[in-house]
Structure formats: structure tokens, C-alpha cells
Amino acid sequence: MHGRIDQHQASGQGVGARLPRKEDDRLMRGRGQYVADIRLAGMQDVAFVRSPLAHARIRGIHVPEAYRDRVFTAADLVGVNPIRAVSGLPGFKISEQPVLATDKVRQVGELIAMCVAPTRAEAEDIAAAVVLDLEELPAVHDMLQARAPDAPLVHEHWGDNIFLETNFEVDISAALDAPIKVSREITTARQCMAPLEGRGVVASFDHRLDQLVVTTSAQMPHINRNGLAECLGMDQGRIRVISPDVGGGFGHKGILLPEEVCLSWLTMRLGHPVRWIEDRREHLIASANCREHHYKITLYADRDGKLRGIDCEATVDSGAYSSYPFSACLEAAQVASILPGPYVMPAYRCRTFSVATNKCPILPYRGVARTGVCFALELMLDLVAAEAGLEPSEVRLRNLVQPDQMPFDNITNKHFDSGDYPEAMRRALEAIDVEALRARQRRGEPDGRRIGLGVSIYCEQAAHGTSVYSGWGIPMVPGHEQATARLTPDGGLELRVGVHSHGQSMETTLAQVAHEMLGIDVGNVRIILGDTAMTPYSTGTWGSRCAVMAGGAVATACGDLGDRIKRIGAKLLQQDVADVELIDAEVRGPNGSVTLREIAHTWYRRPQDLPKDVDPGGLDVTSGYKPQRDSGTFSYAAHAAVVAVDPDLGAVEILDYVIVEDGGVLINPMVVDGQIFGGLAQGIGTALYEEMPFDGAGQPLATTFADYLLPGPTEVPAPRLDHMETPAPYTRFGVKGIGEGGAIAPPAAIANAVNDALRRCGAELMRSPITPHRVVEAVIAAQGAGRAAA
């Protein structure tokens, strides 16, 4: 195997090559085709009437007479089922999300009616003419208040607002006498994912195939089809879901939308194509919310900084409904399983609450629960370091799983597969030159700003499979990942995979894997994705799984195809198959060679030349793949940030940023760099800018990008990257999933850096994002406390 890798690396196209992205030729010339680019004959636009209130009973929906046949409400959707995303975890309470509201609305922006017209502007005119008669109910927008016994109820029949409560404990009593005990409350803001392209749906009906065709900006098209079939009560064969080019997913596009169900129904009702393109206001108000966590957390440690245990109560604001397929509990329940991070500890307790509020459902966002967990744990470790009188990095080094312990089963039974965590931290520190930085801090800055250093480190379970997901009992459990590899009559290769690519460069990396197996030029490899009619079933893109799972599937399918190619080639060369090799897209034997093109030509065009006992399966193979062990790969990274904080204006500037990352064997290091850059930008957003605030009535307050701040080019520094490559022990090529990692550690590293900068003035921030207002508030509070103490 290794010989082969080396050989094809030498050709500059195989596993490990920094190959420019194949998809860029199309995308960078503006030739990508997104949902909003699609024009179908007779297509009309849809605008929705959405709830202006966070919680209300619907008394009436008044449609002007002139628009009777242009407006549709829940009363019209006979036979359409609500979206149900149930978790099998014990005690989970089920929410039913009607695709158009029936008796109640439970969040601002909830769909109440759909209006259809030749243009979106006209559809909005109609929507504006629909009058709602709503009886406002008390809303609950604060997850901690929602847990209180007298809180208004989002789903009355539950009796409380708790989707799910979980408890996990290992011997916490053993930690309670530790000499160091630090406790805090830590909060991460509700955010809104912001892919360049929002969601969008074009629905039409193909009468020839008796098939509903839903073209949607989605990252898990096969899962959308499952959900659509359930909601519409249709056979899966009558539904085709197409995801064309998708301008960023990040988790937002993994969710079945009520809009998708609505438009599917509508096109069948009206008999012409309909489309809905999410605008940014809808996106911010009613979709894509994520990340809102609250932690009450205590760390116990010995004087030397060694962790004795963690005790935590974590609450996640899940919003009004359980989203399909991940459910309302995935985020909080994961918190409990990943909070111990990459560290060793003998005792641990975590209680979690997934809480329903009158806000839109929380969706998984790149890093999912990890970004919040890393923030909470890594901020707390800095406090342990302060108590122990140690450099924060030293506390990490003393508690990280050591390389000689690998593979390591941690306190929550996560199986860390491989790696050298302390080495990643040491390399990051070296890159920063901590001593010089400490000296600079002591000298002070001429401009009065304060410098701080922050570190954080995490490990990320990725590409975890059946054994992990079957336990959650949610509508989606990954099994074998499949790929179809087909040689075309002229010797080109078509690969069909069920995952989708929306920025992760799969068209390039999967072609590299095919090249690795068959030696075929990547220019002759076509990747077909994003279409349930053309690709094998897959749960799609989530959990940093595509390189591992689709990469493994492509390798397996190409391997199997290669075997058939070799057998035909051997016959053509009149050799025994054991005596031929498949190298550089040709089958070579002792006396000659035959190219893929010749072999394909023979199979398709000159079957008369084939041996009688040829494999009738031909040059078209679908194979499945699962790693030897499906408990997941564990990539990891150490991040170090140097910031300058202006204590009077609260401004934070990132002066330096270092990332040392181990993603196992990298299929394309340049693609990995890109993933990390993008993740870092999002992490900086979490750390310093992005926040979706609500007022007391549950109204979202950041409804345009003027209020919802995203980092731009001037706010995202170029990080310094360093790769370690510890091959994963259980996966094809030793690949680990890294897609989400870049977004996990930055909030923690940056917050630690800010707190380091402000430590001498006694200020502390335990909440993201770190806004100027919060910094100045903390500084003023510390000054007040200082004065009071003096």
C-alpha cells in the first residue's frame, strides 16, 4: 500500500498532493449553479407570512378576497405531517413542528402562510396584505428562566420546558477535597451561521417519472428526502432531491426545512414550479441559530495543577422545536460526553439540560457542541493555572493524554485513536516565544494597550459511525458509506458519492483518492454529488466525516474497480492476473501493457474481445466502506493567540495566531489549510463579534448584517499553521476528519488571551462574544472592586 502512495505522490496528484482545486475553474468564473440561478418555465415565487410574535395563539388569518387562490395556510395542507425529530434517549420530549403554524406560533419568524406570485416582490405584497389575528402569550427567551417552574410553557402538554435532561457521573466525590477549586458561570452567545448563500428551494413535479423534484441548497440531500417522504407521506421513489452548487453549509444546510415541505406540497397543488429563496432577514430571524450554551462549572485540581475532576451543569437553549434529523438534544447531550476534552482526570460529573424557548431551533454549527465546551473548559484551566501559579500552557501539558497512553479511552469512554497532544502544545508555544512575550507584557505597550497570550487545545471526534449514533436514537444513523466508481467507454472515471461538497473541495480530494488507487489523471475524474437519483444513499456532510468516509468509500470502490480492470487487462495481455499491476492508468504485465482507455473500450465497444468468464459486473462498481473501528478519528490542534486589548475602548486586536494541527494523513494539505483558515474566521466571529440578542418579548434584535456582525478580511489575521501527521490507525490512508476543527478552539484561545491581558487590572470575561462593551464593563467593575477593596 505504501509503495503505491509514494509512487502516485510522485505524480503530484495522489494522497498528500497540494493539488489546486478542480472546482475552482467553475466557481471562480462565476459559473457555479446555485438554487437561485435555476429558471424553470412557469416558475413562480413564494413569500411567507411569518409570525411577528415569539409566542401567540392564532385566532385568525384573514386573506383578502383578491388573493384567495394565492395564499395557503395550514388548513390547506391536508395530509401533510409535522416535522418530528425524535431522539431515543430516555426522557426525551417530542415536539411537533407544523410546517405552517396551526394553533400556536412559538417563535418569531415561524411560518404561518405561503403566498405565491410571479415575482418575489409581488408575493411579498400579498404577504403584507394578509392580516393576522394573534393573541400574544407570555414568551420565554432565556433558557435559565425557561427551566424555572413558573416559566411560560412552549409546549403546554410537556408540563415543563425540558426537551431532555442527562446525567453522567464518575466518582465526583473523590475530587471534592482537592486543594484547588475554581467555579464560574460561562456563557456562549446565540449565533447565526452565515454561509454566503442562504437556503433556497425550487420544487417542481416531473409527470413522466411521477416524481417530485426538490432542488434545495442542502448538504445532506438523502436525509432531506427521508424527511420529505415522512412529512408528505410519499414513497421515496416519488421524490428526487437535488443539491446543486451550495455556497457554504456549516450545518445550517443539514436541516429539513418546513419551507422545503411547503414548496413540495405547493408545486403538486398548483402544477407549476415554485421557488423560495431565503433572504438574509429571514435567515437571521428564523433560521440557522446555533451555539447558545450556559455552564455552571467547577474544576478541582491538586496544587501542582493536576486535574482531580470536573463538575458541571450545562444548559443549551434548543429553541422551540427539535430540528430534523439531529434533534434538540444532540448539542447538550454531546456536551456531557466531550467536556473532559483531551485531558486525563479521575472524576467527572456533568448534568445537561436541553431547554425549549420561544426562539428558533438551535442547529448544529461547525464544531457543534465542541466550540462551547472548549471555551468553558479552557477558560477554567487558565483559572486553575492562576491558582497553581503556573503558566496556563503548563497546566495543559500536565493534564493532556500523553502519547504513550494512545490509544486512550477517556473518562467518558471516548477512544482517542492516536497522536501526541503535548507536542502540538509545545510547538505552538515555541512558535510564539512565550518568554519574549512575557517580557514584553512586563514592559507594557507605548500606546497603553495590554498584551495577552491565550492557548487552547482540543481533540475532535470525527467520522464517528454506527456504534456512536445508534445510541442517540435520532432519525439518522450512519452505516457503511458507499461510492460508485464507473469507467466510461473512453476510459474516464465517474465517481458518485452521497455526501455533498459546499466548500470542502471534495471534487478535488476524492479525485486524488481515485488517482491514488487507479493512477488515473484527476482531470479525467468526474465527481457526481448532490442528487438522490444519481448517488448512493449517504447521511451526507456532518461530523467532519467526508474525507474519511467518502474518501474511504471511493478508495474501496476504485480498488474493486481496479481488480476488475486488472482481470480484463490480464486477459488482454494473456497473462495471469497475479502477474500484472495497475500503475499510472494502465495494466502492465511482463510483456506489455494496456491502458484504461483500451480496457474500457473493450468492455463497452468490443465485448467480442472479452474472455468468456469476464465478471459480468463490468466496469461499474458500488462498494461500501467503514473504518475498522467506527468510534471516530480524533484530530486535534493547539491554538495560541496574542492579542492587544484597549482597556478604555474595549477593542481587541489579534496580533498573532498560531495553529498546530494533526489531521492524520492529509489528502491535500492545501485544502486542509483552507478548512482551517475558514474555521478560524468563524471562530473569531464567535470570540469577538457574532451575537443574536433577543429582547424581553423574544424578538430577535440582530435582523440585518448591520447588527449581526461578522468578521471581515481586516478582522481575520493570517494564522501561522503547522501540521503534524500522525496516521489514524483505523482509517483508509490514515486520514482523520478535520473539517470543523478550525472553528473550535479560537474563542477559547482569544478569550484566554484577553483575560491574560486584563489580569493585572483584575478584569475577567467569561462570556462570548467579547465585545467592547463587555471589556469596558469588566474593566470598570474591576476598578470599582479595586477601589472598594482599598
Binding site: 416582490a121 405584497d125 403584507a128 478604555d648 475602548l649 463579534y689 471581515g712 465585545t771 467592547p772 470598570i780
Partner: protein, 276 residues
């Protein structure tokens, strides 16, 4: 979202524009569209008719006349940034222009539109008040000139009457001895400021025009600036600055949140320190 339906006119001369505005109470001026565009899209503004004034040459003129610079309302931020119009502010306006929003916005956004929109955090609203600018307002039947403090009457509120538009802005020549300081605090490049101060201080004649912007209300032109410096404006003004007085003035201006006050005070302090 998409705008509600509206009619659109793009007159070539000022008098046609004024008669369109005068003849239709539902008409609204559009200059660069950088603020009006989003309001239309969000349906916060639903005018019957848009009168686009960017084809009117007269409104794009810029000339020095006597002791003042007269800028047509449709001069863009980029025109000023790039030095395509004359300058009487010794470079002050050019550097302000260069830091408004992003280049794409500056290419279209106009000085007249910026003032008319009267966003309390807009750069020109504070800067031109500190520079002592006046504006000429025109309607079909009348023309009047008002100071900037008279023009901006509140957050997003000007004294423009129906049928009236801003035709020109008059900026007095900055005296050779005057110091200029301008500081704004923004969350990120191109964002509207959350703290803003423009100061034109002439120690030689003992005068100071200090404007604090980015408040919830119209920017505040400090009425008795000498109070900030222990009773007089002279060469030592930087060292004589008394933050307690500034703190009191901010409180009186309605900045009751201690954190906001600290940020505004810091911005004020720095604008004075940087004045040169």
C-alpha cells in the same frame, strides 16, 4: 425582501426634481441609495415615487467661493477621499472620507445623502458640525440656509420640509492656527461608530467646536467648550482637559450607561490628544 412598488424618475436638472418633489407628497429623494436602498428593501420606506437626483450636474459641482467650499449634495465620499474636489479643511475631510464604510459604499454614498439621513453615528454629521458647515435647502418656491446644528434635529431627523432637498453644503475655510482631531470607535472596519468625536480647536483665538456623535440622539455640539478646560481654551488645552466635566456633560446629554460614557469619554479625550 423586495421593495414595495414605486415609480422612478431621474430628472436632469434641479428645477424638474424640485417640481416632482413639490407635486407629490409621496415622492422621496434618492442620492447614492446606500441608506435608502436597504430601507426600501426592508419596506421601512414605501415611497410612491423615487426621485433619483444623481443625474443633476448642478448637485455634483464643487468650488471654492470666497472663504468657503461649496459642495453639491451629490458629491460622493470617494470624490472627497480621492481629492477630486477642492479642500479647505487642510486634509481633514479627505481622511474622514477615506474611513467611511467600505470603498463600494463610498463610491456611491453622497455627502448630502449622509446629512439628510441624519444618522447620529454618520461621519459627516459630526465632522461638518465641528467644521462649522451650513447647508442650502431648496424647494420649488424657496431656498434657505441653515447651520448643521439647526439641520440635524434628532436621530434620523432633519429639518427638511416636504418638497425640500439639500442642494449644497458650505464648509468654511479652516484657520491656519486651528487644530483638528477626529476619533471614532467602531467594532470593525467599515462599521458605523459607537463612539465618535470631532474637534476643531483654535487656541490662538480661544475657540473650540467639539462635537460628540454616535449617541442615541443628534450629535452634541458642546455649548461651552471652555468648561472642559477649566474655563478657557488656550495653548495648554490638552493638559487642562478635565474629564469630570466631560463626564457630566455626557450624562446631561443622556448617556447614563457608565460603560457607554466611558467609551465616549475616551474617544473625546483621544480626539483632543490627537488634535493637531
Amino acid at each position: 425582501m423586495k421593495p414595495a412598488p414605486f415609480d422612478y424618475a431621474r430628472p436632469r436638472d434641479l428645477s424638474s426634481a424640485l417640481s416632482l418633489l413639490g407635486g407629490n407628497a409621496g415622492a422621496k429623494v434618492m442620492a447614492g441609495g446606500q441608506s435608502l436602498g436597504p430601507m426600501l428593501i426592508l419596506r421601512l420606506a414605501q415611497p410612491e415615487q423615487i426621485v433619483d437626483i444623481t443625474a443633476i450636474d448642478e448637485l455634483k459641482q464643487a468650488e471654492i467661493s470666497g472663504d468657503e467650499l461649496v459642495l453639491g449634495a451629490c458629491v460622493t465620499h470617494a470624490d472627497i477621499e480621492d481629492g477630486r474636489v477642492p479642500d479647505v479643511s487642510a486634509g481633514a475631510m479627505r481622511s474622514v472620507a477615506a474611513n467611511i464604510a467600505y470603498r463600494a459604499v463610498r463610491n456611491r454614498g453622497t455627502i448630502g445623502g449622509s446629512l439628510s439621513h441624519a444618522d447620529p453615528a454618520a461621519d459627516w454629521v459630526s465632522v461638518l458640525a465641528a467644521l462649522g458647515a451650513r447647508v442650502t435647502l431648496r424647494s420649488v418656491s424657496a431656498s434657505r440656509q441653515v447651520s448643521l446644528s439647526e439641520f440635524i434635529v434628532g436621530a434620523l431627523q432633519s429639518c427638511l420640509q416636504p418638497g425640500e432637498l439639500v442642494a449644497a453644503i458650505h464648509i468654511p475655510k479652516r484657520s491656519a492656527t486651528a487644530h483638528w482631531g477626529y476619533v471614532k470607535a467602531c467594532r470593525k472596519t467599515g462599521e458605523f461608530a459607537h463612539g465618535q468625536c470631532a474637534a476643531l480647536i483654535d487656541p490662538d483665538v480661544g475657540s473650540a467646536r467639539i462635537v460628540i456623535g454616535a449617541l442615541d440622539a443628534a450629535p452634541v455640539l458642546i455649548a461651552k467648550p471652555a468648561e472642559l478646560f477649566g474655563g478657557r481654551v488656550d495653548a495648554d488645552y490638552k493638559t487642562r482637559f478635565d474629564p469630570r466635566v466631560a463626564d457630566r456633560l455626557l450624562n446631561e446629554a443622556g448617556v447614563t450607561d457608565a460603560v457607554h460614557r466611558h467609551i465616549h469619554l475616551t474617544v473625546l479625550k483621544r480626539a483632543l490628544q490627537e488634535a493637531a
